[in-house]
């Protein structure tokens, strides 16, 4: 080409290297996109290998450097509380606020400031206009009856020599109507720590113990307390106080303390939610950490590190994070792990300094943990009451201690309380040492095991590789669609360029606007589809399956209407015959839109973007009109058709959801209603994933289907 041009024109001025590089990449986009995609998927599979061990990054935390002060004395006090609570539960007439009063009595006996906080349950209504903002607290007070309220009990210890600017929060959710042994034990652990902290001299931050009434859900109770803490409403205060539904007749001192209303203690430094679950199938005590808050936000890694360090090295608890259990039995994963292990051995034999191999079992476990970590972050639903804290920029985690405790084995219960209490004490002591906010360690990470993590710099690579091919392919498609036609025409009619021809060329170069319009319309339709569930919810007595079907029908109907109003896409294709390459332009714009959407989503919720890219990028890249493929009956084309169909099938969110559910949970009891339920939970928690599915994923899928079925 250079030769032919050098003949006719003056020597072509050399282009800048970066431009040349870009052109080179675009011209080889097919190869590159295949390489990038495979590399992206491979990197994702390699991530467990690249995980680093966690370490306490902030020196001031000094976990475990002090001997635990919690002794059997506090434990025996806590045992008293546990016994009283369980006895209370046995009593038939014990109802309402008996348990709260008992806990408050215990708290005030320790010298803590006690207050009650009343809250009303909040129904999870979908408000399309308040998607990101929480509903106005004034509007939720519609049907308040005296019987339907929850009562949180809050005890505060003021640090004797502290200035009261900061506080550490302990949360123990429990159901005030029916107190299980596990809940009583979690209260016991918190109480033992609380009673120790009233006496210690090292306290620099205030301690708030919130006994959250989980009658209406754990999250709701904690969220209600936090809302009162951060966004109190003054205007309704008098009314609320005036209607005293219950009689809190206490003795003089406690009554006076409690009547002073909502008590506060400075900025929250960290929060720990303690739960105890009774797992009888296990033989040793273990501790599960839940950290995911709304939209995949995570607390500072140091908080998890402290708990991990203290639990493993001090209290000898086995620590767990959530795993995808079904992945553990995957054959192919095991084989992959073995291959990687042997590769690691090989590398080690070549150079002993190359250590990247990990045992296959570890690899499988790491992958399972990573998958669940990605999934829960991607869902955007908090995995526990700690999620409420993250909304106010407080680092919080839920510690779920599972153990085999029975009320009759006293010694074992004491030992359990002692260990749990010492763990909490150690964590509080570490956080208490902190002079500044949690800032030192990571906020963006994925866990592959309780002591291994992937920082953002590592897990970005997989996503970046997946996404990188999109703009290149889009550019090459655009270039082809724009350049080839004029060249073709030029060869055909070698007339000197007239004014009308010039106009035609400029018009043709703006051809992509039609495609862009179409993409825009489909994205608009996505927004409409997002709003539909709000109306469907208004239909009374609707089973999930029927509402799902209604939703699908309505969305298809709205799609048809939109096309009818805004012009059929096929109309002008028929009008102008030479637009053979129209589908290429459409695909190019679709890919660009997908690229922009994925990049935006990766900022909001990385895990969603990662999973979305896994599903969407191959689909977008492969999309090719079926007609063209069917015309030329080569093996390559037929395989492409198969790939296209398979990817389009898996790319649709409901089918993707159901397929993964089948793979991970088995076939029994799968119905399309499950997807509706899943979606409902997503929008009820106002997760950004919902927006992603409606605004980015679904339109892209529709456009890809459009490209596949393009009549060219």
């Amino acid at each position: 080409m250079g030769e032919s041009e050098s003949e006719s024109e003056a020597p072509k001025v050399k282009l800048r290297p970066i431009v040349r590089l870009g052109m080179f990449l675009i011209s080889h986009s097919h190869l590159l996109s295949v390489v990038c995609c495979t590399a992206g998927v491979l990197t994702l599979l390699l991530l467990p290998l690249l995980a680093k061990n966690t370490y306490i990054s902030e020196n001031a935390l000094m976990p475990g450097s002090a001997n635990p002060m919690l002794s059997s004395q506090e434990v025996s006090e806590a045992n008293g509380l546990v016994k009283d609570l369980t006895n209370l539960d046995l009593k038939p007439m014990a109802s309402g606020i008996e348990s709260q009063r008992l806990i408050a009595q215990y708290m005030s006996n320790l010298g803590a400031e006690v207050s009650f906080q009343k809250f009303y349950p909040q129904s999870n209504q979908f408000h399309p206009l308040h998607f990101f903002s929480s509903p106005d607290s004034a509007t939720i007070r519609e049907n308040i009856s005296c019987s339907s309220y929850g009562l949180n009990t809050v005890g505060i210890i003021r640090a004797p020599r502290g200035d009261g600017k900061e506080a550490i929060v302990l949360v123990t959710p429990y159901n005030s109507e029916k107190i299980g042994l596990g809940e009583a034990l979690s209260l016991g652990i918190a109480y033992s720590v609380f009673s120790l902290l009233t006496r210690v001299t090292w306290l620099a931050k205030d301690i708030i113990w919130v006994v959250a009434d989980s009658k209406y859900g754990e999250y709701a109770a904690v969220d209600a307390w936090l809302r009162d803490y951060y966004i109190p409403v003054f205007s309704g205060l008098g009314i609320q106080n005036a209607e005293m539904c219950h009689g809190l007749e206490e003795n003089a001192i406690t009554e006076r303390d409690m009547r002073d209303g909502f008590k506060r203690a400075g900025t929250m430094a960290a929060a720990l939610v303690i739960k105890v679950v009774d797992r009888s199938e296990q033989f040793e005590d273990s501790l599960s950490i839940y950290a995911e808050a709304s939209n995949g936000q995570m607390p500072n890694l140091d908080l998890i590190n402290i708990v991990n360090y203290l639990a493993v090295h001090r209290q000898g608890l086995r620590i767990k994070v959530e795993k995808m259990w079904s992945l553990l039995n995957c054959k192919w994963l095991m084989i992959l792990g073995e291959i990687l292990e042997s590769l690691g051995h090989l590398a080690k034999s070549l150079n002993p300094q190359w250590k990247f191999g990990i045992p296959a079992v570890d690899y499988v476990e790491g992958t399972a943990t990573l998958a669940s970590s990605l999934y829960y972050q991607a869902l955007g639903i908090p995995t526990g009451p700690h999620g409420a804290f993250r909304d106010y920029q407080v680092d919080a985690i839920t510690l779920e201690i599972s153990s085999r405790v029975s009320s009759n084995n006293k010694g074992r219960q004491n030992d359990f309380l002692l260990r749990g209490g010492r763990l909490i004490e150690g964590v509080i002591r570490s956080v208490n040492n902190l002079l500044e906010k949690f800032h030192q360690s990571f906020f963006l990470y994925l866990l592959t095991s309780p002591s291994k993590f992937l920082s953002v710099g590592v897990y970005m690579i997989a996503f970046a590789l997946l996404v990188a091919s999109l703009p290149m392919v889009a550019a090459s498609l655009y270039g082809h669609a724009n350049n080839l036609d004029p060249g073709f025409e030029k060869n055909k009619s070698n007339h000197p360029a007239s004014a009308s021809d010039e106009l035609g060329i400029t018009l043709r170069s703006w051809k992509w606007l039609y495609a862009a319009k179409k993409v825009l319309v489909v994205h608009l339709w996505g927004a409409v589809v997002l709003l539909l569930p709000y109306f469907i919810c208004q239909i009374p007595n609707c089973s999930p399956t029927t509402s799902f079907v209604v939703w699908v029908l309505l969305s298809i109907f709205s799609l048809i209407i939109l096309f009818w109003i805004l012009g059929s896409p096929f109309s002008y294709v028929n009008a102008s015959q030479p637009q053979q390459r129209e589908w290429a332009l459409l695909k190019s714009v679709t890919i660009s839109a997908a690229f922009i959407g994925l990049c935006l989503m990766s900022v909001i919720n990385f895990a969603t973007a990662e999973i979305g890219a896994l599903l969407m990028v191959p689909m977008c890249l492969m999309a090719h009109p079926l007609k063209l493929d069917v015309k030329s009956r080569k093996l390559r084309n037929i395989s492409r058709v198969a790939c296209n169909l398979a990817l389009a099938f898996i790319g649709l969110p409901p089918t993707a959801f159901l397929v993964f559910k089948c793979v991970f949970e088995g076939f029994d009891g799968i119905s399309v209603g499950d997807f509706w339920n899943w979606l409902e939970s997503i929008w009820a928690w106002s997760s950004a994933t919902y927006l992603y599915i409606g605004m980015i994923h679904l339109p892209c899928w529709i456009l890809c289907i459009h490209v596949i079925l393009h009549p060219c």
Binding site: E77, G80, N109, D163, Y230, I231, S235, G236
Partner: protein, 672 residues
């Protein structure tokens, strides 16, 4: 036992001093009079099982005109010089650790309203200088005090940290400056210079009780220095300089928790003695002191409870009928019999009045130390008097941009006589003054002030009677808000909210390390209609102790709110590094291309290019075509005019690559 020789030694020293001084007195007695020092200690059991100890030392110096020039024999010279140099009319400096618990330790008595201070350092001073020199005097004063007390009071020098007030905080107008350092840590290094101002230091007298570990172990520790001088030439009365030093500590008597039975009704207050709470005993008075007394105060509520108890006992046991006073009451027992007993003379509270026991230290010595002990015999639960409104301040909202400061008042239960006594029933108003200083990086929008009374929003004009706001100026002055609020007497709860924006600091205004946030100093809430004064009935009022006189003074009820912590946006301070690297890269690229452009001769280059183009195509296509030819399996045929130079260069390149690879391989093996 090891202490004994030292003690005797010190006593000998003191004796010798005494002799010296007495001779001096004998000589100069006629010339200067009344340079006095008095030491007192007030002990008070608190409702929540703690003990308040309030040390009060007062040194007075006569006016300069009547004294002997610049010579003092009791009064600390440093303070006298300070007063003279900076023309300080009044000054108060307090170092505090911990928070005063207004609910449990009292909010309506002279101790709480004049000795409860916000954590950190608080300093205010009134100067007797022309208005334009006040700031300069303040600066000098802060620097001097900072040197004197080993504290960073000098940070109050910059105009962003102190403020002038109009009327909100202190009645004296003009010339007053007020500043606080909430973050200042208080420790022995601040106490030692404070003790040095005492004539006996902590070697003798009541101050010898100040055992550092035990007083810093407490729940509240506030050392205060207040200076009043009427050295001014304008005022007619000249009383000289009065230096009042007070140390207030709240200690927990270490009770060995004997009864672990919770939820049991019998909760006996812990018994304590001086030696158990301080670890020391009073071994005698400071011989330079005019008076040296220890008081034990029983609050009104406690006295009422004790009287009730006594009555109950009288009913059950007829032996105790007609006992005189509380001395032999059934509630507690004192290890030392008090020398005097005072009753509070109150008109308002007819129910009962607080009781004060006085112990004179003069008759105690190292051989017979004074160790007051209080043993509880019956569990007593009482309440302390509280301010009419319980005030608390907190931040609302989260995030890094906006927020709201809220001050909430909740009415405490008052005895009936309190409010009714002031004004008539219907027009009864409860006045509260708020004085709040906000640093400039908190940009308060004062127009967003909203007031809620009993849960209903109120028009500001209904509640706010007087308001003075001086908005903050960036990096120049803090914002000051002074408000006079009038609530209806029946108010149950009230709240004030003010919205603010968080400002950006200059890079050098951030603390050097990562921080927890920035402080908003305490607001001061004053209830001017409520005066705290405790008048004790006494037989002869001539030699009243300075502390009791102080208690008698009518001062408004005053309380401080919490310090708030505002997290400000903190930039990533590793950024400069990144910026430097990026800028360097940009500069390198820029200079590289600039040099390239400058160096280039376009005409010449074009000519060469033309020449070369006529000779051959570019080297890269050549290589590529060679490669493709090789791949296709054909023999590569060079373009029309093969140049020797190109093949030479390519072989040279290959040679270079080989050399580099060889070096790399060599290095790899060598390093292993």
């Amino acid at each position: 036992m090891a202490h004994l020789p030292r003690r005797t030694h010190s006593i000998l020293l003191i004796l010798s001093f005494q002799i010296c001084f007495s001779t001096i007195f004998a000589v100069f007695g006629s010339v200067f009079f009344q340079e006095e020092f008095s030491e007192e200690l007030l002990l008070k059991p608190l409702p929540d099982r703690k003990v308040l100890a309030h040390f009060h030392f007062e040194t007075t110096a006569p006016p300069l005109s009547t004294s002997h020039g610049r010579h003092h024999h009791l009064f600390p010279k440093a303070i006298a010089q300070l007063v003279q140099k900076f023309h300080v009319k009044e000054m108060e400096l307090s170092f505090t650790q911990g928070r005063w618990n207004y609910d449990r330790w009292g909010g309506f008595d002279p101790i709480s309203s004049s000795n409860a201070k916000p954590p950190g350092v608080e300093l205010w001073a009134v100067f007797d200088v022309p208005k334009d020199q006040v700031d300069a005097s303040w600066k000098n004063l802060t620097h001097t005090l900072s040197g004197l007390f080993c504290a960073s009071i000098n940070f109050l020098e910059s105009s962003t940290t102190y403020s002038a007030h109009e009327w909100g905080f202190h009645p004296s107008s003009g010339g007053l400056r007020y500043g606080t350092l909430p973050r200042e840590a208080v420790c022995t290094e601040n106490l030692t210079p404070w003790l040095k101002l005492l004539p006996c230091r902590d070697k003798a007298g009541l101050s010898a009780l100040l055992d550092r570990p035990s007083i810093y172990r407490g729940f509240y520790h506030s050392q205060r220095l207040r200076l009043t001088s009427s050295e001014s030439h304008s005022s007619g009365v000249e009383s000289g300089i009065v230096l009042e030093q007070a140390l207030t500590v709240v200690l927990q008597p270490n009770s060995h928790k004997t009864s672990k039975t919770f939820l049991s009704e019998t909760k006996l207050q812990p018994s304590w003695s001086l030696s158990s709470i301080f670890g020391r005993k009073v071994t005698g008075r400071c011989v330079l002191a005019k008076s040296s007394n220890v008081y034990l105060q029983l609050e009104r509520g406690l006295v009422t409870e004790l009287e009730n108890l006594q009555k109950d006992n009288a009913i059950t046991g007829p032996d105790h009928v007609g006992s005189g006073g509380l001395k032999d009451n059934p509630g507690f027992e004192l290890s030392v019999r008090p020398d005097k007993e005072f009753k509070e003379a109150n008109i308002l509270h007819r129910k009962s009045s607080s009781v004060l026991y006085e112990y004179s230290i003069e008759r105690y010595s190292a051989f017979e130390p004074f160790d007051l002990g209080l043993t509880w015999k019956f569990p007593v639960v009482w309440l302390c008097p509280r301010a009419p409104l319980h005030s608390s301040r907190f931040l609302m909202g989260s995030g890094n941009q906006r927020g709201t400061i809220a001050i909430s008042f909740i009415s405490t239960d008052l005895e009936e006589g309190f409010l009714g006594a002031n004004i008539g029933e219907d027009s009864c108003k409860l006045q509260a003054n708020i004085f709040q200083v906000v640093p400039w990086y908190i940009k308060v929008y004062y127009h967003t002030l909203r007031v809620f009374v009993d849960g209903k929003p109120q028009a500001i004009a209904n509640v706010v009677e007087k308001m003075h706001v001086s908005p903050s100026e960036d990096k120049v002055s803090p914002g000051v808000m002074e408000l006079v609020l009038k609530f209806p007497c029946a108010v149950k709860s009230a709240a004030l909210t003010l919205e603010f924006d968080k400002g950006f600091l200059h890079i050098d205004e951030y603390p050097p390390d990562a921080n927890q946030g920035f402080d908003i100093p305490s607001a001061v809430i004053i209830f001017p209609n409520f005066q705290t004064s405790m008048q004790y009935l006494e037989d002869n009022s001539s030699n009243k102790s300075p502390m009791l006189l102080k208690f008698q003074e009518k001062s408004p009820v005053l309380s401080y709110t919490e310090i708030l912590l505002v997290p400000l946006t903190t930039p990533d301070f590793s950024m400069p590094y990144n910026v430097i690297t990026i800028t360097c890269t940009v500069f390198a690229l820029y200079f590289g291309s600039l040099l390239n452009v400058l160096r280039r001769r376009v005409g010449e280059e074009e000519r060469i290019l033309k020449n070369r183009a006529s000779k051959k195509a570019g080297r890269l296509p050549q290589l590529l075509s060679r490669l493709s030819a090789k791949l296709k399996g054909k023999e590569w045929e060079p373009p029309q005019s093969p140049s020797t130079s190109s093949s030479f260069i390519s072989s040279k390149l290959i040679l270079k690559v080989l050399i580099v690879a060889g070096v790399a391989v060599f290095w790899q093996y060598y390093s292993e």
